[in-house]
């Protein structure tokens, strides 16, 4: 990619016009859309031949129509907003608690000794397995869903923050102390920036986990709105097209979370501070 980009740049500069670069960009777009066209065509052919009942295997037009109607009347938007809100609250809780606990474990030996066994026992159990338990304890609905998302996505954040704080070089701490930094300054200007690449990795993993769990939890926890519920509810009425529309929105959100939210955050913090190379 890098090479291609520089060659394009050089070629464009050498020829003195943008025609070459434009053509190259077209080629990239075509290369990325071509596989989707092939898969779409196969899907369409299978759907049209009627090997499977149309209800279960809708054509692309049906999916598109249902996507457009659901978007226009605001139902899809409502589901999406509710899901995102839940993700935000749950993950916010997880980030706050996870970074706090991780920091504590990284900085103080007694905290590390006493918390690590609990964390390492609870972490390897798949998050979804807790779902029925949470449903029993907190009742079906909003509270269980949010708490479960928070609980499950907390572990990667704890682990990575802990590792990050411990990975801060001893010599940085000592030199900062020798230069007269007090505890607060030490934390803000040395430990936090030093641990941040790890913390961000943890947050990224946690968010991915939260997103995967949330979709499943919405199916199980009987929440009134949400994308997970949309696709689960659509099954009852054999609305495969609505289901597909929901899956598409889920995929797009997942992609955006990964590509934009964290890539941007990383760019503004660790890359700018020179803790990590530009990717």
């Amino acid at each position: 990619m890098q090479n291609a980009a520089t060659t394009i740049g050089i070629a464009a500069a050498a020829s003195g016009r943008d025609g070459e670069a434009f053509r190259e960009r077209l080629r990239v777009v075509w290369r990325n859309t071509f596989p989707f066209l092939v898969v779409g065509a196969i899907w369409e052919i299978v759907a049209l031949t009627g090997v499977f009942p149309r209800q279960l295997f809708p054509t692309l037009e049906q999916i598109a129509t249902s996507f457009v109607t659901l978007s226009l009347n605001g139902i899809l938007l409502h589901h999406t907003v509710e899901t995102l809100l839940r993700l935000l609250i749950g993950f916010g809780l997880a980030a706050a608690c996870g970074v706090g606990i991780g920091m504590m474990m990284g900085r103080s030996r007694p905290a590390e000794d006493s918390l690590l066994p609990l964390v390492s026992i609870l972490a390897p159990i798949p998050g979804l397995a807790y779902t029925p338990l949470f449903l029993l304890w907190f009742g079906p609905g909003e509270v269980s869903a949010v708490l479960l998302v928070a609980f499950v996505s907390m572990f990667p954040v704890i682990y990575n923050t802990w590792t990050g704080v411990k990975a801060v070089k001893e010599i940085w701490l000592r030199s900062a102390q020798a230069m007269g930094a007090n505890n607060q300054r030490l934390f803000r200007t040395v430990i936090l920036p030093g641990a941040l690449p790890y913390i961000l990795t943890g947050l990224r993993l946690g968010l991915g986990q939260a997103w995967r769990i949330l979709v499943a939890v919405e199916m199980l926890a009987a929440v009134p709105w949400g994308l997970g519920w949309l696709i689960f509810g659509a099954r009852e009425f054999l609305n495969t097209d609505a289901m597909m529309a929901g899956v598409i929105v889920i995929a797009v959100i997942g992609l955006l979370l990964e590509k934009f939210v964290f890539a941007k955050l990383e760019h503004y913090t660790v890359v700018r501070w020179g803790m990590m190379g530009r990717t």
Partner: protein, 263 residues
């Protein structure tokens, strides 16, 4: 303080927290603030666990779950390893597959459960396919990255020493990519283990650890739930540590591809 003393202190502190947590839980359970059915005492949970192991139901549930995980995982290995290698070796395959993979990867496997239930019904097939889906992407991605990251110098060196394509593949590319491949398998297994529990809750028939937990909710059997949770955690932990640990020792560590970490 010496290192040995420090370590002893760590163990004591760790044990104390666990004891304190257990005592707190037991106290809450006995205090009767919460219903007994929702918060069973630790002896009750252990008795349920032992009973379920003794009468074989727990083994049967575990066997079903393991069968689904293994089947799906193996399918993913068979599918993803060759495809990942192919993607890394041929530009054309990579150009075709990469956009599709980037579009499918962000879809959580659970989002497909309702769809698969419609298509394949309830039971083994759906669960296995969900596991397969969950395992494929980490494995594919890591294999692809691993083969691409094989040092070109090694390839050229082997080539100039007269290795043919086949030898090059088995002697250089596969060992060179193996740390990535094994990481991929490890990640894939973790994903699988989560996916199978979720899929069983939503789409299983009568057996499986995920199903048993979800079913116990209907009858307020919190003790059965907690007992199954223990089993799920234990199996996951055992696989992660024992199986993948020993695979790693037998391959990449022995070949000197990664250094052993002191634990």
């Amino acid at each position: 303080m010496t290192e040995q003393k420090q370590r002893n202190l760590s163990i004591i502190r760790g044990g104390l927290t666990l004891l304190a947590a257990a005592a707190l839980y037991e106290g809450l359970a006995r205090s009767g603030i919460f219903a007994k059915a929702l918060l069973p005492t630790i002896p009750t949970i252990l008795r349920t666990l032992i009973d379920m192991i003794a009468d074989g139901t727990m083994l049967e549930h575990s066997a079903y779950t393991l069968y689904r995980v293994m089947f799906g995982f193996l399918l993913a290995v068979v599918f993803a390893l060759p495809l990942g290698i192919l993607m890394a070796r041929s530009k054309r395959v990579e150009n075709f597959c990469l956009p599709l993979i980037s579009a499918l990867m962000p879809i959580p496997s659970f989002a497909l459960v309702p769809l698969f239930m419609l298509w394949f019904g309830i039971g083994n097939l759906t669960t296995i396919l969900i596991v397969f889906y969950a395992a494929t992407f980490p494995m594919l991605f890591n294999t692809w990255a691993g083969v691409r990251s094989v040092n070109p110098l090694w390839l050229r060196a082997a080539g100039s020493m007269g290795a043919d394509e086949q030898r090059l593949f088995w002697k250089v590319i596969i060992p060179g990519a193996s740390p990535f491949i094994i990481t991929g398998m490890r990640q894939a297994f973790l994903r699988c283990w989560i996916a199978v529990v979720g899929a069983e809750m939503i789409a299983a028939s009568d057996w499986g650890l995920g199903w048993v937990i979800f079913d116990a909710k209907e009858f307020l059997n919190a003790d059965v739930m907690l007992a199954s949770l223990i089993v799920i955690g234990a199996i996951g932990f055992a696989f992660e540590r024992l199986v993948f640990g020993s695979i790693e020792r037998a391959t990449v560590l022995r070949w000197g591809m990664v250094r052993a970490t002191k634990s």
